[in-house]
Amino acid sequence: MAMINGGRVPGNREWETGDLMTCVIARLLKDKETVFHGVSSHMPMVAMQLAKALHAPDLVHLNIPGGVNPDSLRDVSYSSAGPELVRRGESYFSLADIFDLSMRGKLDVAFLGGVQFDAKGNVNASAIGPYKKPKVRLPGGAGSAVLIPTAKKAIIWRTKHDKRTFVEDVDFVTTRGNLWKIVTPLCVFGYKNGRVVLDAIHPNITFEQVQEATGFALKNENILVTEAPTKEELALLRRIDLKNLRSVEFK
């Protein structure tokens, strides 16, 4: 399916999957929230800037190098943890400060990755196969193991949606906790009563397509359809993110 690869959606010349996911993520953020993204997190970084330009001007953008509220992503290239975020920031708040903030219950939203997710909301960013003798050693959960349990809302984004990513049981539980939403190229998952549930399906995607790409059973009830990116969102995205960093994971 062209969409999963991040190309243009058939019959749609206005936006790509990366644009849609970025807008969906931006809409999840509220004004005045303290929001953190880590390394390899271009899409959430752009989404935070989009939310600030739209409905959340006083959202607090926190990041690994420590630049609070960078006013522009113009200098950013391959990294979402680069010193340019400090250069463009209004003040300095280190990574250790951000972790401590979350431990005190004052971090509203954390964006986190992972490679495998299961129906119970467990996240694996550590290893495929046994931890001590892994078949594949993954990069590691970075901050997730302390942030998913302590941030008020953990949002996961993943640009791959297939049965190897969304599984019945993860190989290793790096963490679980305050999982709130998972945004994929096909849909938005929520987390209710200890189960991952289908919240919304993206435009032009069917329930059957989502189920077919997901390794655990989903219920076809009360499912919303994601609103396509608006003209205003798309215009702002192009201005905020000249280099299309938001879609870097699709390349």
Partner: protein, 290 residues
């Protein structure tokens, strides 16, 4: 007395097989790459490395089989550079132990060293297999709860990581080691306090006393620093704020090297620059130090 020395001498004098090392920066930013390449040239072995988020630094040492254990929250390149393949393969082969932390537990473990206690309580690490599989985490009951009439409460402890040596690449320091880090500091201030010995490699080294007008900007006071090494481009091909960006070409050249000869050629290509300035190169005048 000046603490200046050359790259070769600093590695010879301070790095011993089996040491626990920690490095400045984060991912592909301001890692002390010249110093690490000199470690490779001198083939120091069985090294341990502690860092919140590592990339080329740890991957390079793993490529030459010089590492026994990595204590880190994240070991990978970003975006188009992909996974740290040498690290990954070494863990999969069982030659390197990958002690996975949450980045914050590395910070707490280093804080343990700063405060000279054997472990630190760490909030937040409450669930999952990291607690089960790793002997450097332990869950205990809050010993004060009962006396205070509070309900029982579990507290996770992380074992202290006390680096033998921190190597920090900075923009500027003086020959006594007073060091200014411009822009993002990452965990560099913390590691300068946690490690038993500290080496600063710097883009610019100025004579003692020359930073006195900027004393409120000094991040690492000289008395904590054991040696100063003047290495312009010492973080290359990683970035150094205010000086240079990461070099995509040179990072790719490393990542695409797929045999020992090409890896050695990559390290050799930097040898002259890595070793260019030594303690005898000062010829007088501030300009001569740059």
């Amino acid at each position: 007395m000046s603490k200046r020395m050359g790259t070769e001498e600093a590695v010879q004098s301070f790095v011993k097989d089996g040491m626990l090392l920690t490095f400045s920066g984060n991912a592909l930013h301001r890692a002390p790459m010249s110093f690490i390449r000199e470690i490779v040239r001198q083939e120091k072995k069985q090294l341990e490395v502690a860092k919140t988020a590592a990339a080329l630094d740890v991957d390079l040492l793993c490529a030459f089989g010089l590492v026994s254990t990595v204590h880190a929250g994240f070991v990978s390149y970003e975006s188009e550079y992909g996974l740290a393949q040498h690290y990954r393969k070494a863990v999969e082969a069982g030659t390197v132990t990958g002690n996975e932390h949450a980045c914050y537990t590395v910070i707490c473990a280093l804080r343990g060293a700063v405060m000279n206690v054997p472990f630190m309580p760490v909030h937040g690490l409450k669930y999952g297999d990291l607690l089960v599989e790793n002997d450097y985490f332990m869950v205990v009951e809050n010993p004060f709860a009962e006396a205070e009439g509070k309900p029982a409460e579990s507290v996770t402890l992380v074992k202290t990581l006390r680096p033998d040596l921190a190597v920090i690449h900075a923009q500027v320091c003086d020959e006594d080691g007073n060091t200014i880090i411009e822009g993002a500091q990452y965990e560099d201030i913390l590691i300068s306090r946690a490690a038993n010995k500290v080496i600063v490699t710097a883009e610019t080294v100025v004579p003692a006393g020359r930073l006195i007008q900027r004393k409120d900007r000094i991040d690492i006071p000289g008395f904590l620093v054991d040696a100063v090494v003047h290495i312009p481009n010492g973080a290359s091909p990683c970035s150094c704020e205010g000086k240079y960006e990461a070099s995509e070409k040179d990072i790719k050249r490393f990542i695409e090297a797929d045999n020992k000869e090409e890896l050695h050629a990559w390290v050799d290509s930097y040898e002259r620059k890595d070793r260019a300035r030594n303690s005898l190169s000062y010829k007088g005048g501030l300009g001569a130090w740059r």
